[in-house]
Subunit: 526 residues, 2 copies
């Protein structure tokens, strides 16, 4: 029997709040620090590992976190979710994104079909379509091959697929699975679409229109923008466009598209990278086999997230430590710091997944909560960030929780030895150094050069960024965020906070405003 | 006589802390809201305007802020800075980045030369060089024109120039001043350099090596990476590289470069976009006239920042409100939200300028401060962010201070009318709507759909993103951050917090580690 309770009503949370805080600088020093790094480590899928030695925890804190996981029924709630319980109570929807990459539990039937079969079928349809495009069986009207794919979507239909494309672009080139370049149009700013269209050969471009509802303002506007451009180039837009949407959307059966592939209401936009939303563009760009490997990596990590032994469940531990940092230690924000240029847009994707899921002030019953929920998430790749905002992370007045990601090997494999080390070794040396610098600090009589330390971080270490490790990484964060939503007792799967702005923007465009909104509209020449 | 005092020792700050807080949702409603939008607005340079109507201020708060500016001697401190006082006391350096674009006060002599003349001379040398490259008078060894410029730099030598390049790329194309594409290599991750090199025609590329000290690990490593690639392509690297550095650096007189252009120790990396650091790459990409216009815009805004009438000084008011939000209202982070795809990397640049300048825990005398200093800064362009992290901004448990930027017109001018409005109108309608949605909220019996409002924002509105408005925008934020540093009594011009990580990374590479650092190094296969 599952009970949905506010975090501060749980006895285990009260207990956790009373456990003595860990002096991180002290505990991470010397052989004790070395022992922690060996001990506080959990295997992830695809050879990766989650290490939390440099987090502000010890065996006492961890024991309290395990109790909290237990009392909050994290494992049971996840089980209910993947077995098809209506966990998104606000919108009265199931939450089935895990099923786009595997089946963790019971068969789930909805809309009269087995949902796992539905997602597999869509993936297969996309694979067939992509293979035909690559083989030159589906071409433009002149019978010529498509050479570029352009995704038109925003938010969840953009950030995840874009981050995954960037992450795998060079891997695919290196591994001879690169099929065509992908571009992305998202912003309603006309300069976005115009610049992308100016940069490609539209006659050989295939466009993927992505909107679950088929009503997203930006996406429909950009579709018209693109159709205009195709028309001006003397091209038949319907021979250049496919749609990814829900079966009930106005786009689903339109003759404006070469093909339509489906997701459904049980896949939230920000969790849709492993659905047709990511599937179409990534299969076209890299081939369906690469997309399938990405799904395999995510599925493998999902299985680890099922583990009821909290200490062996990397997603659950990560989630619990994050809540401890937010609600007991009081740290207001989290930086995601991948030491990999391939992951340059991964933090922007996680920013959406996390902040849109858990940036809520009411619990799942619509009652205000009395504690902080989701933190601000930001990040840039290392080592770039080291020469930018790390100053504040090391010596600022607020402590920021840190989430590093590192890889033993580069993607392209092209490297150079300078001063007896490769660039990849320098990259890895830097992330190792940063963890210890943040945790241990270094005292200096010149206070300006003094580092207090005590700044907590975790690191995920993988072999290299490839489709499988990327899938596992994505699953890790998706599941971490889900578990945190359970702990905060919020509905992580709706986003009512985005509605008011849409309503007011429509009012501006209809010239139905007054007061401050009218004056701002005047200032902006609308 | 200037006195450097901690914020909390100022009587005016104590007074400010006692002023009644403004109920933003209430005050921004109805005709009062409309009046505020008209009233709380300050002209900026180049036709832009800074509007703070939706900030949590009223005439009482503003009066207290004016007193604070006065007691903190903001105008006098700025005057001392641009007249050549050694404001960067930690590193014992002058702070002269304003002088790269104009002369605000006295002539300043340092290193035996008039510094304004020195910066102008460097700008002129770069202009001559760029003109010769564009005219085909400086070419590759085969006598062929260069078609791509690649900046090799990190931190301040990367983020600013990259953001400015992105901001003006489409403007330059539209206005027929686009000379060549620019690319950027920054990360020590070998995949960064390898991917850029794979994407260009190296035989026709000119590389700009940027490092003030000439010792930056990442930059020298990437230089070797590039030289290797040039050698492998049978090319003479010295015919493809220029250096931007200080006159005392090892790079300054090397024969490895076609030319060297200089900055000096009085230009902090993060404030170097208007020096040779931005000048070389932007003049090569867009022509020196465009770079000169960018400087003109910055110079014009700098002049406004001199205004001793606080209420007519957009940089000072912005700085003061930010400190009020941070130190009285307690908001821990600030989102920078440009409604312009051209400004997609502008927030990443500001993240450095702000967090590296003011993320400090000690005052300029090296004494710990008892109050929060620089906030976390993050942001993405609108409308993209609306479909991502705005959920937390609207309904999260923490209030995030918001800084919008909007433009009346697009850059490329290619647009489409859908449902009776252009994309540009939709973009502007959205930013206007967001300001009011954040400020006023909307009550709903369903608490999940309830918006409390009271979330403060300001907006800078410009005509369009062009070299001059961009320069003014950059100057606005640079000066805002400088004024905040004065208020917090920190040294905004050093960055000791980045040192420890560098030291430890070297130790890892030299295999001189033990404890936790050694085990992390093992895990990362270094």
């Amino acid at each position: 029997m599952i009970t949905w309770s506010n975090l501060d009503t749980l006895a285990s949370f009260q207990e956790l709040s009373k456990v003595a805080h860990v002096d991180l600088a002290k505990t991470m020093a010397g052989t004790n620090g070395a022992d922690r790094v060996k001990k506080y480590s959990i295997p992830m899928a695809e050879g990766s590992v989650y290490n939390y030695a440099a987090k502000q925890v010890d065996d006492d804190v961890l024991a309290a976190l395990v109790k909290l996981a237990d009392e909050a029924q994290l494992a049971e709630k996840f089980e209910a979710l993947y077995n098809g319980e209506m966990v998104n109570t606000g919108e009265k929807r199931l939450v089935l994104h895990h099923m786009t990459r595997g089946q963790l539990g019971d068969a789930v039937t909805a809309d009269g079909v087995d949902k796992r079969s539905f997602y597999v079928e869509q993936q297969q349809k996309i694979a067939d379509f992509a293979n035909k495009v690559h083989a030159g069986q589906i071409t433009n009207a002149a019978g010529e091959k498509f050479t570029t794919v352009v995704q038109i979507g925003i938010g969840g239909s953009d950030l995840g697929p874009r981050a995954m494309y960037r992450a795998l672009e060079n891997w695919a080139k290196k591994n001879n699975t690169f099929k065509m370049e992908a571009k992305f149009i998202s912003n309603v700013d006309p300069d976005d679409a115009a610049a992308v269209l100016n940069s490609i050969d539209v006659a050989h471009a295939i466009f993927v229109l992505v909107s679950k509802s088929g009503t997203t303002l930006e996406t429909l506007t950009n579709e018209s923008f693109v159709k205009n451009a195709l028309k001006n180039a003397g091209l038949d837009a319907s021979k250049h466009m496919i749609a990814v949407t829900s079966e009930t959307s106005p786009l689903a059966k339109s003759e404006d598209y070469l093909a339509a592939f489906f997701m459904d209401d049980y896949i939230g936009g920000r969790f849709s990278s492993t659905s047709a939303v990511g599937g179409a563009v990534l299969s076209l760009a890299f081939g369906p086999e690469v997309f399938a490997q990405f799904l395999d990596g995510a599925a493998a990590e999902d299985k680890l997230a099922q583990n009821k032994d909290v200490m062996k469940n990397p997603e659950m531990i990560d989630a619990l430590i994050g809540v401890y940092e937010r609600n007991v230690l009081g740290y207001p924000s989290t930086a995601v710091l991948p030491y990999s240029q391939a992951l340059s847009r991964f933090p922007a994707h996680l920013q959406q997944v996390d902040m849109e899921s858990n940036g809520k002030s009411v619990n799942r019953f619509g009652e205000p909560v009395n504690y902080p929920t989701g933190p601000v998430i930001f990040g840039e790749p290392g080592t770039n960030g080291q020469h930018s905002f790390y100053q504040l992370l090391h010596q600022g007045t607020d402590i920021v929780s840190l989430q590093f990601v590192g890889f033993k090997n580069s993607q392209i494999g092209s490297d150079v030895v300078i001063q007896d080390s490769t660039s990849q070794q320098k990259l890895c040396a830097n992330v190792a150094a940063q963890i210890v610098a943040f945790a241990c600090g270094k005292s200096d009589d010149n206070r300006n050069k003094n580092f207090e330390g005590g700044r907590p971080s975790s690191i995920i270490i993988g072999e290299d960024v490839n489709p499988k490790t990327l899938g596992a990484l994505l699953s890790h964060f998706e599941n971490k965020i889900m578990f945190q939503g359970f702990l905060w007792n919020v509905n992580s799967f709706d986003q009512e906070g985005v509605q008011l702005g849409k309503v007011l923007a429509k009012r501006v465009l209809a010239h139905e405003t007054d007061g401050a909104l009218q004056v701002f509209s005047d200032l902006l020449n609308i």
